[in-house]
Amino acid sequence: MEHEIAISLEGICKSFGSVKANHDVSLEIRRGEVLALLGENGSGKTTLMNMLSGIYYPDEGTIKVNGEEVNIRSPKEAFELGIGMIHQHYKLVEVLTAAENITLGLKGGLTVKRRELVSDIRALTEKYGFELDPTKKIYDMSVSEKQTVEIIKVLYRGADILILDEPTAVLTPQETEKLFAILHNMRDDGKAIVIITHKLNEVMSVSDRVAILRKGEAVATVRTSETDAQTLTDLMVGRKVSLEIERPDVDFEQKDFLKVVDLTCIGAEGHKALDSVSFTLRSGEIMGVAGIAGSGQRELCEAIAGLYPVKGGAILCRSDTSSGEVRENIVGMSPTEIIKKGVAMAFVPEDRLGMGLVASMDMVDNMMLKSYKRGKGPFVDRKAPRAMAERIKDELEVVTPRVTMPVRRLSGGNVQKVLVGREIASSPKVLVVAYPVRGLDINSSYTIYDLLNQQKKKGVAVMFIGEDLDVLMALCDRIMVLCGGRVAGIVDPREVTKDEIGLMMAGERREEEVG
């Protein structure tokens, strides 16, 4: 039996500048059903749903709610149509109670009738099986409780179409199970539920139908009961794209440069952001790190650079002096000491300029960010940084009228060239690059890949944290797959398929896959 259609999207297109986030997407959302929206990072899932929640407005296409064409221009208008979206980043006022947050901004009488409000909320929580104390303050809550508040906020406003963006990203398995039970209760109550995810096991356990997005386009919609993880992975990652990225061989003896042993870090939400991570990084190799967003990549980078507190384990670095044994623990060292050990990190955050570069400074000043202390006397020496800036500008073809232009006025690709160029110029032993090609066009990306290969040939141990599996598989010598802060496996990209890596990222253990 087909359920009633709540929303239908027809031919939706959305571009940001030259990037097509969604192209000609058509989709139906039905009442009494959980629809999983599946796709890799950057496949346009969140963008698509943001057009339903009134954050973005589509460039082209039609949205119909209950069969009627609508224009959704703001979150408020979305609410009026009964659409509520629970974003990945919760928007809650910490010092207020759950009930106060839920009633925030709503019309109603002059006063807040707390008793009524609380009993209304209790009725809602009982109906669907939530566990929540409406009088508890947000700052006393766990992540899962905060999520509950966000969901009830949406329900309380009368939403009957709920969109959840990666709701399980920060939940424990037990909390996830509970959430799914609640989602099923809501579905049985006749609500339309959309859950954005890239975890296959969750898709299989929670959804009734799956819509798969790839590179901004809807590639298929299938019934969950009529499919399996393998088919979905194929649909999600597509066929292997052959990229003309070089993977040069090195002809010298590869030595261990960095050894990470049982590294454990606690995340901001109190969960284990890194859980007993162990691996070895060798000279003359590029080790790729794959994983869905938030699997511990950021914490791993920062822990190596001395910026993130380490709860347990060790990071051993090859010492310069003795026989070159890898036994010097850099955990607990200051970032400066770690830089001196030859460990360089180029981290490109989502907003590009958050860390690593000072936006209002020019290229020259940014060149000396880590080396300004060199030389005697109180004055900074800008001669060497200037020469370096000029060199990077020429060699990496940074498009800027002059090196004295503040970097915030450079385009994204050029900013990244500056950042990676500087880290390479410090001739490190270990180079950690995170998302260096984020938001770059093809040509700039290739420049960066070449740079990394040159470093590899020089004998540097490179760790490359990337998003695009195709690139990782073409460029890297080994790939470590992270999932929920744990190492799901370290594989040779020449021997595994993209599907296998995809399954590991999604939480299926390699051993299980093989065994």
């Binding site: 910490e94 010092v95 009633t103 006063t111 807040v112 700052y139």
Partner: protein
């Protein structure tokens, strides 16, 4: 016994200007605007209050004290609110730095008060002073009730501004804890992005809270002129009261209820030495005046170190909000 009662009365009278300034600034800061222009707005309110009353007396054939008093309240509120409006326009709409704008408003308001105070004085031939009836309106207690022994003196003998101040503080407390709009205002001050997403008009709330808060501060300035200085414009009369109010906001941990207590405690501290006969000399009593600031610093340090979420400055205070372009 009489001394104790006299002391308590004096404490309330001395604490009332603090009360207006503190409650006004609490309302302002609750919207996320740290307005350091309290001192300036008090000057503006003070001079506008006396000017309003004075011009009314000059133009009316038979000036009535109560009418003059009400005019003074309205004028002081409006004038200081205009100062706050300039502040809001600069910080909310034009996104200027809050600290610098507040300080500039203090510089402007102090000049404004003293300048027009003197201009008015020159016009009046020497100095400006209101009539006896007006002074009376600013000093009488509640008729009848104030004659009850002890209780009358303790509860009903004050001028109407004292009751107005207490009323405003109580209303503000109810507003924050009970009303929908008060809840929304708190959300604006804590997390404007959240408030915005919940459909609250952040800009409007900030403007309204800052202007009303500023206006209340202005009434405090008028109190100094009309009650403390007995209806005469004295050069530099506000003299740091505004800054004490800023300090009291911290002391009261952004709660109008505690502002009530804090203002009268500070008022009491400032007059205590006349009653205690501690044998303080001039010098020691100057040190004694510093106590409120030291207490405030301690409160600041304790709340800072304990990272208390409940009793801390509204999280967005001092930071201008604007929605990122989509």
């Amino acid at each position: 016994m009489t001394t104790v009662i006299n002391f308590l009365c004096a404490a309330v009278l001395a604490g009332t200007p603090f009360l207006f300034g503190t409650v006004g600034e609490i309302i302002t800061e609750r919207s996320g605007n740290l307005n350091l222009g309290v001192e300036g707005m008090m000057f503006m309110g003070g001079v506008a209050g006396i000017a309003g009353a004075y011009f009314y007396e000059q133009s009316a054939a038979n000036p009535i004290g109560w009418v003059a008093a009400i005019i003074a309240v309205v004028c002081s509120f409006v004038c200081a609110a205009l100062g706050a409006l300039v502040y809001s326009f600069l910080t909310v709409t034009l996104r200027a730095n809050q600290n610098v704008t507040g300080l500039s408003l203090t510089i402007f308001g102090t000049g404004f008060g003293n300048f027009f105070g003197e201009v008015l004085g020159n016009k009046a031939g020497g100095y400006v002073v209101v009539t006896g009836q007006t002074k009376e309106a600013f000093s009488v207690g509640i008729p009848g009730l104030s004659n009850i022994p002890v209780v009358g003196k303790l509860l009903f003998s004050y001028n109407f501004l004292v009751y107005l101040g207490i009323l405003i503080a109580v209303l503000a407390a109810i507003y924050f804890s009970r009303t929908r709009s008060g809840l929304n205002l708190r959300a604006v001050g804590e997390s404007p992005a959240t408030a915005d997403a919940a459909g609250i008009n952040v800009t409007k709330m900030k403007y309204l809270a800052t202007c009303i808060g500023g206006g209340i501060c202005g009434i405090g300035g008028m109190y100094i002129v009309m009650v403390t200085c007995s209806g005469v414009w004295v050069h530099n009369c506000v003299n740091g009261y505004g800054w004490i109010a800023v300090a009291l906001v911290i002391f009261a941990t952004w709660s109008p209820r505690r502002a009530l207590l804090g203002s009268f405690v500070f008022g009491g501290l400032s007059v205590l030495r006349y009653y205690l006969h501690l044998g303080l000399n001039m010098a020691q009593s100057q040190m004694y005046d510093v106590l409120p600031y030291i207490v405030t610093v301690i409160v600041l340090i304790v709340t800072g170190i304990r990272q208390s979420r409940e009793h801390a400055q509204p999280a967005s205070c001092g930071i201008n909000y604007f929605r990122e372009e989509r």
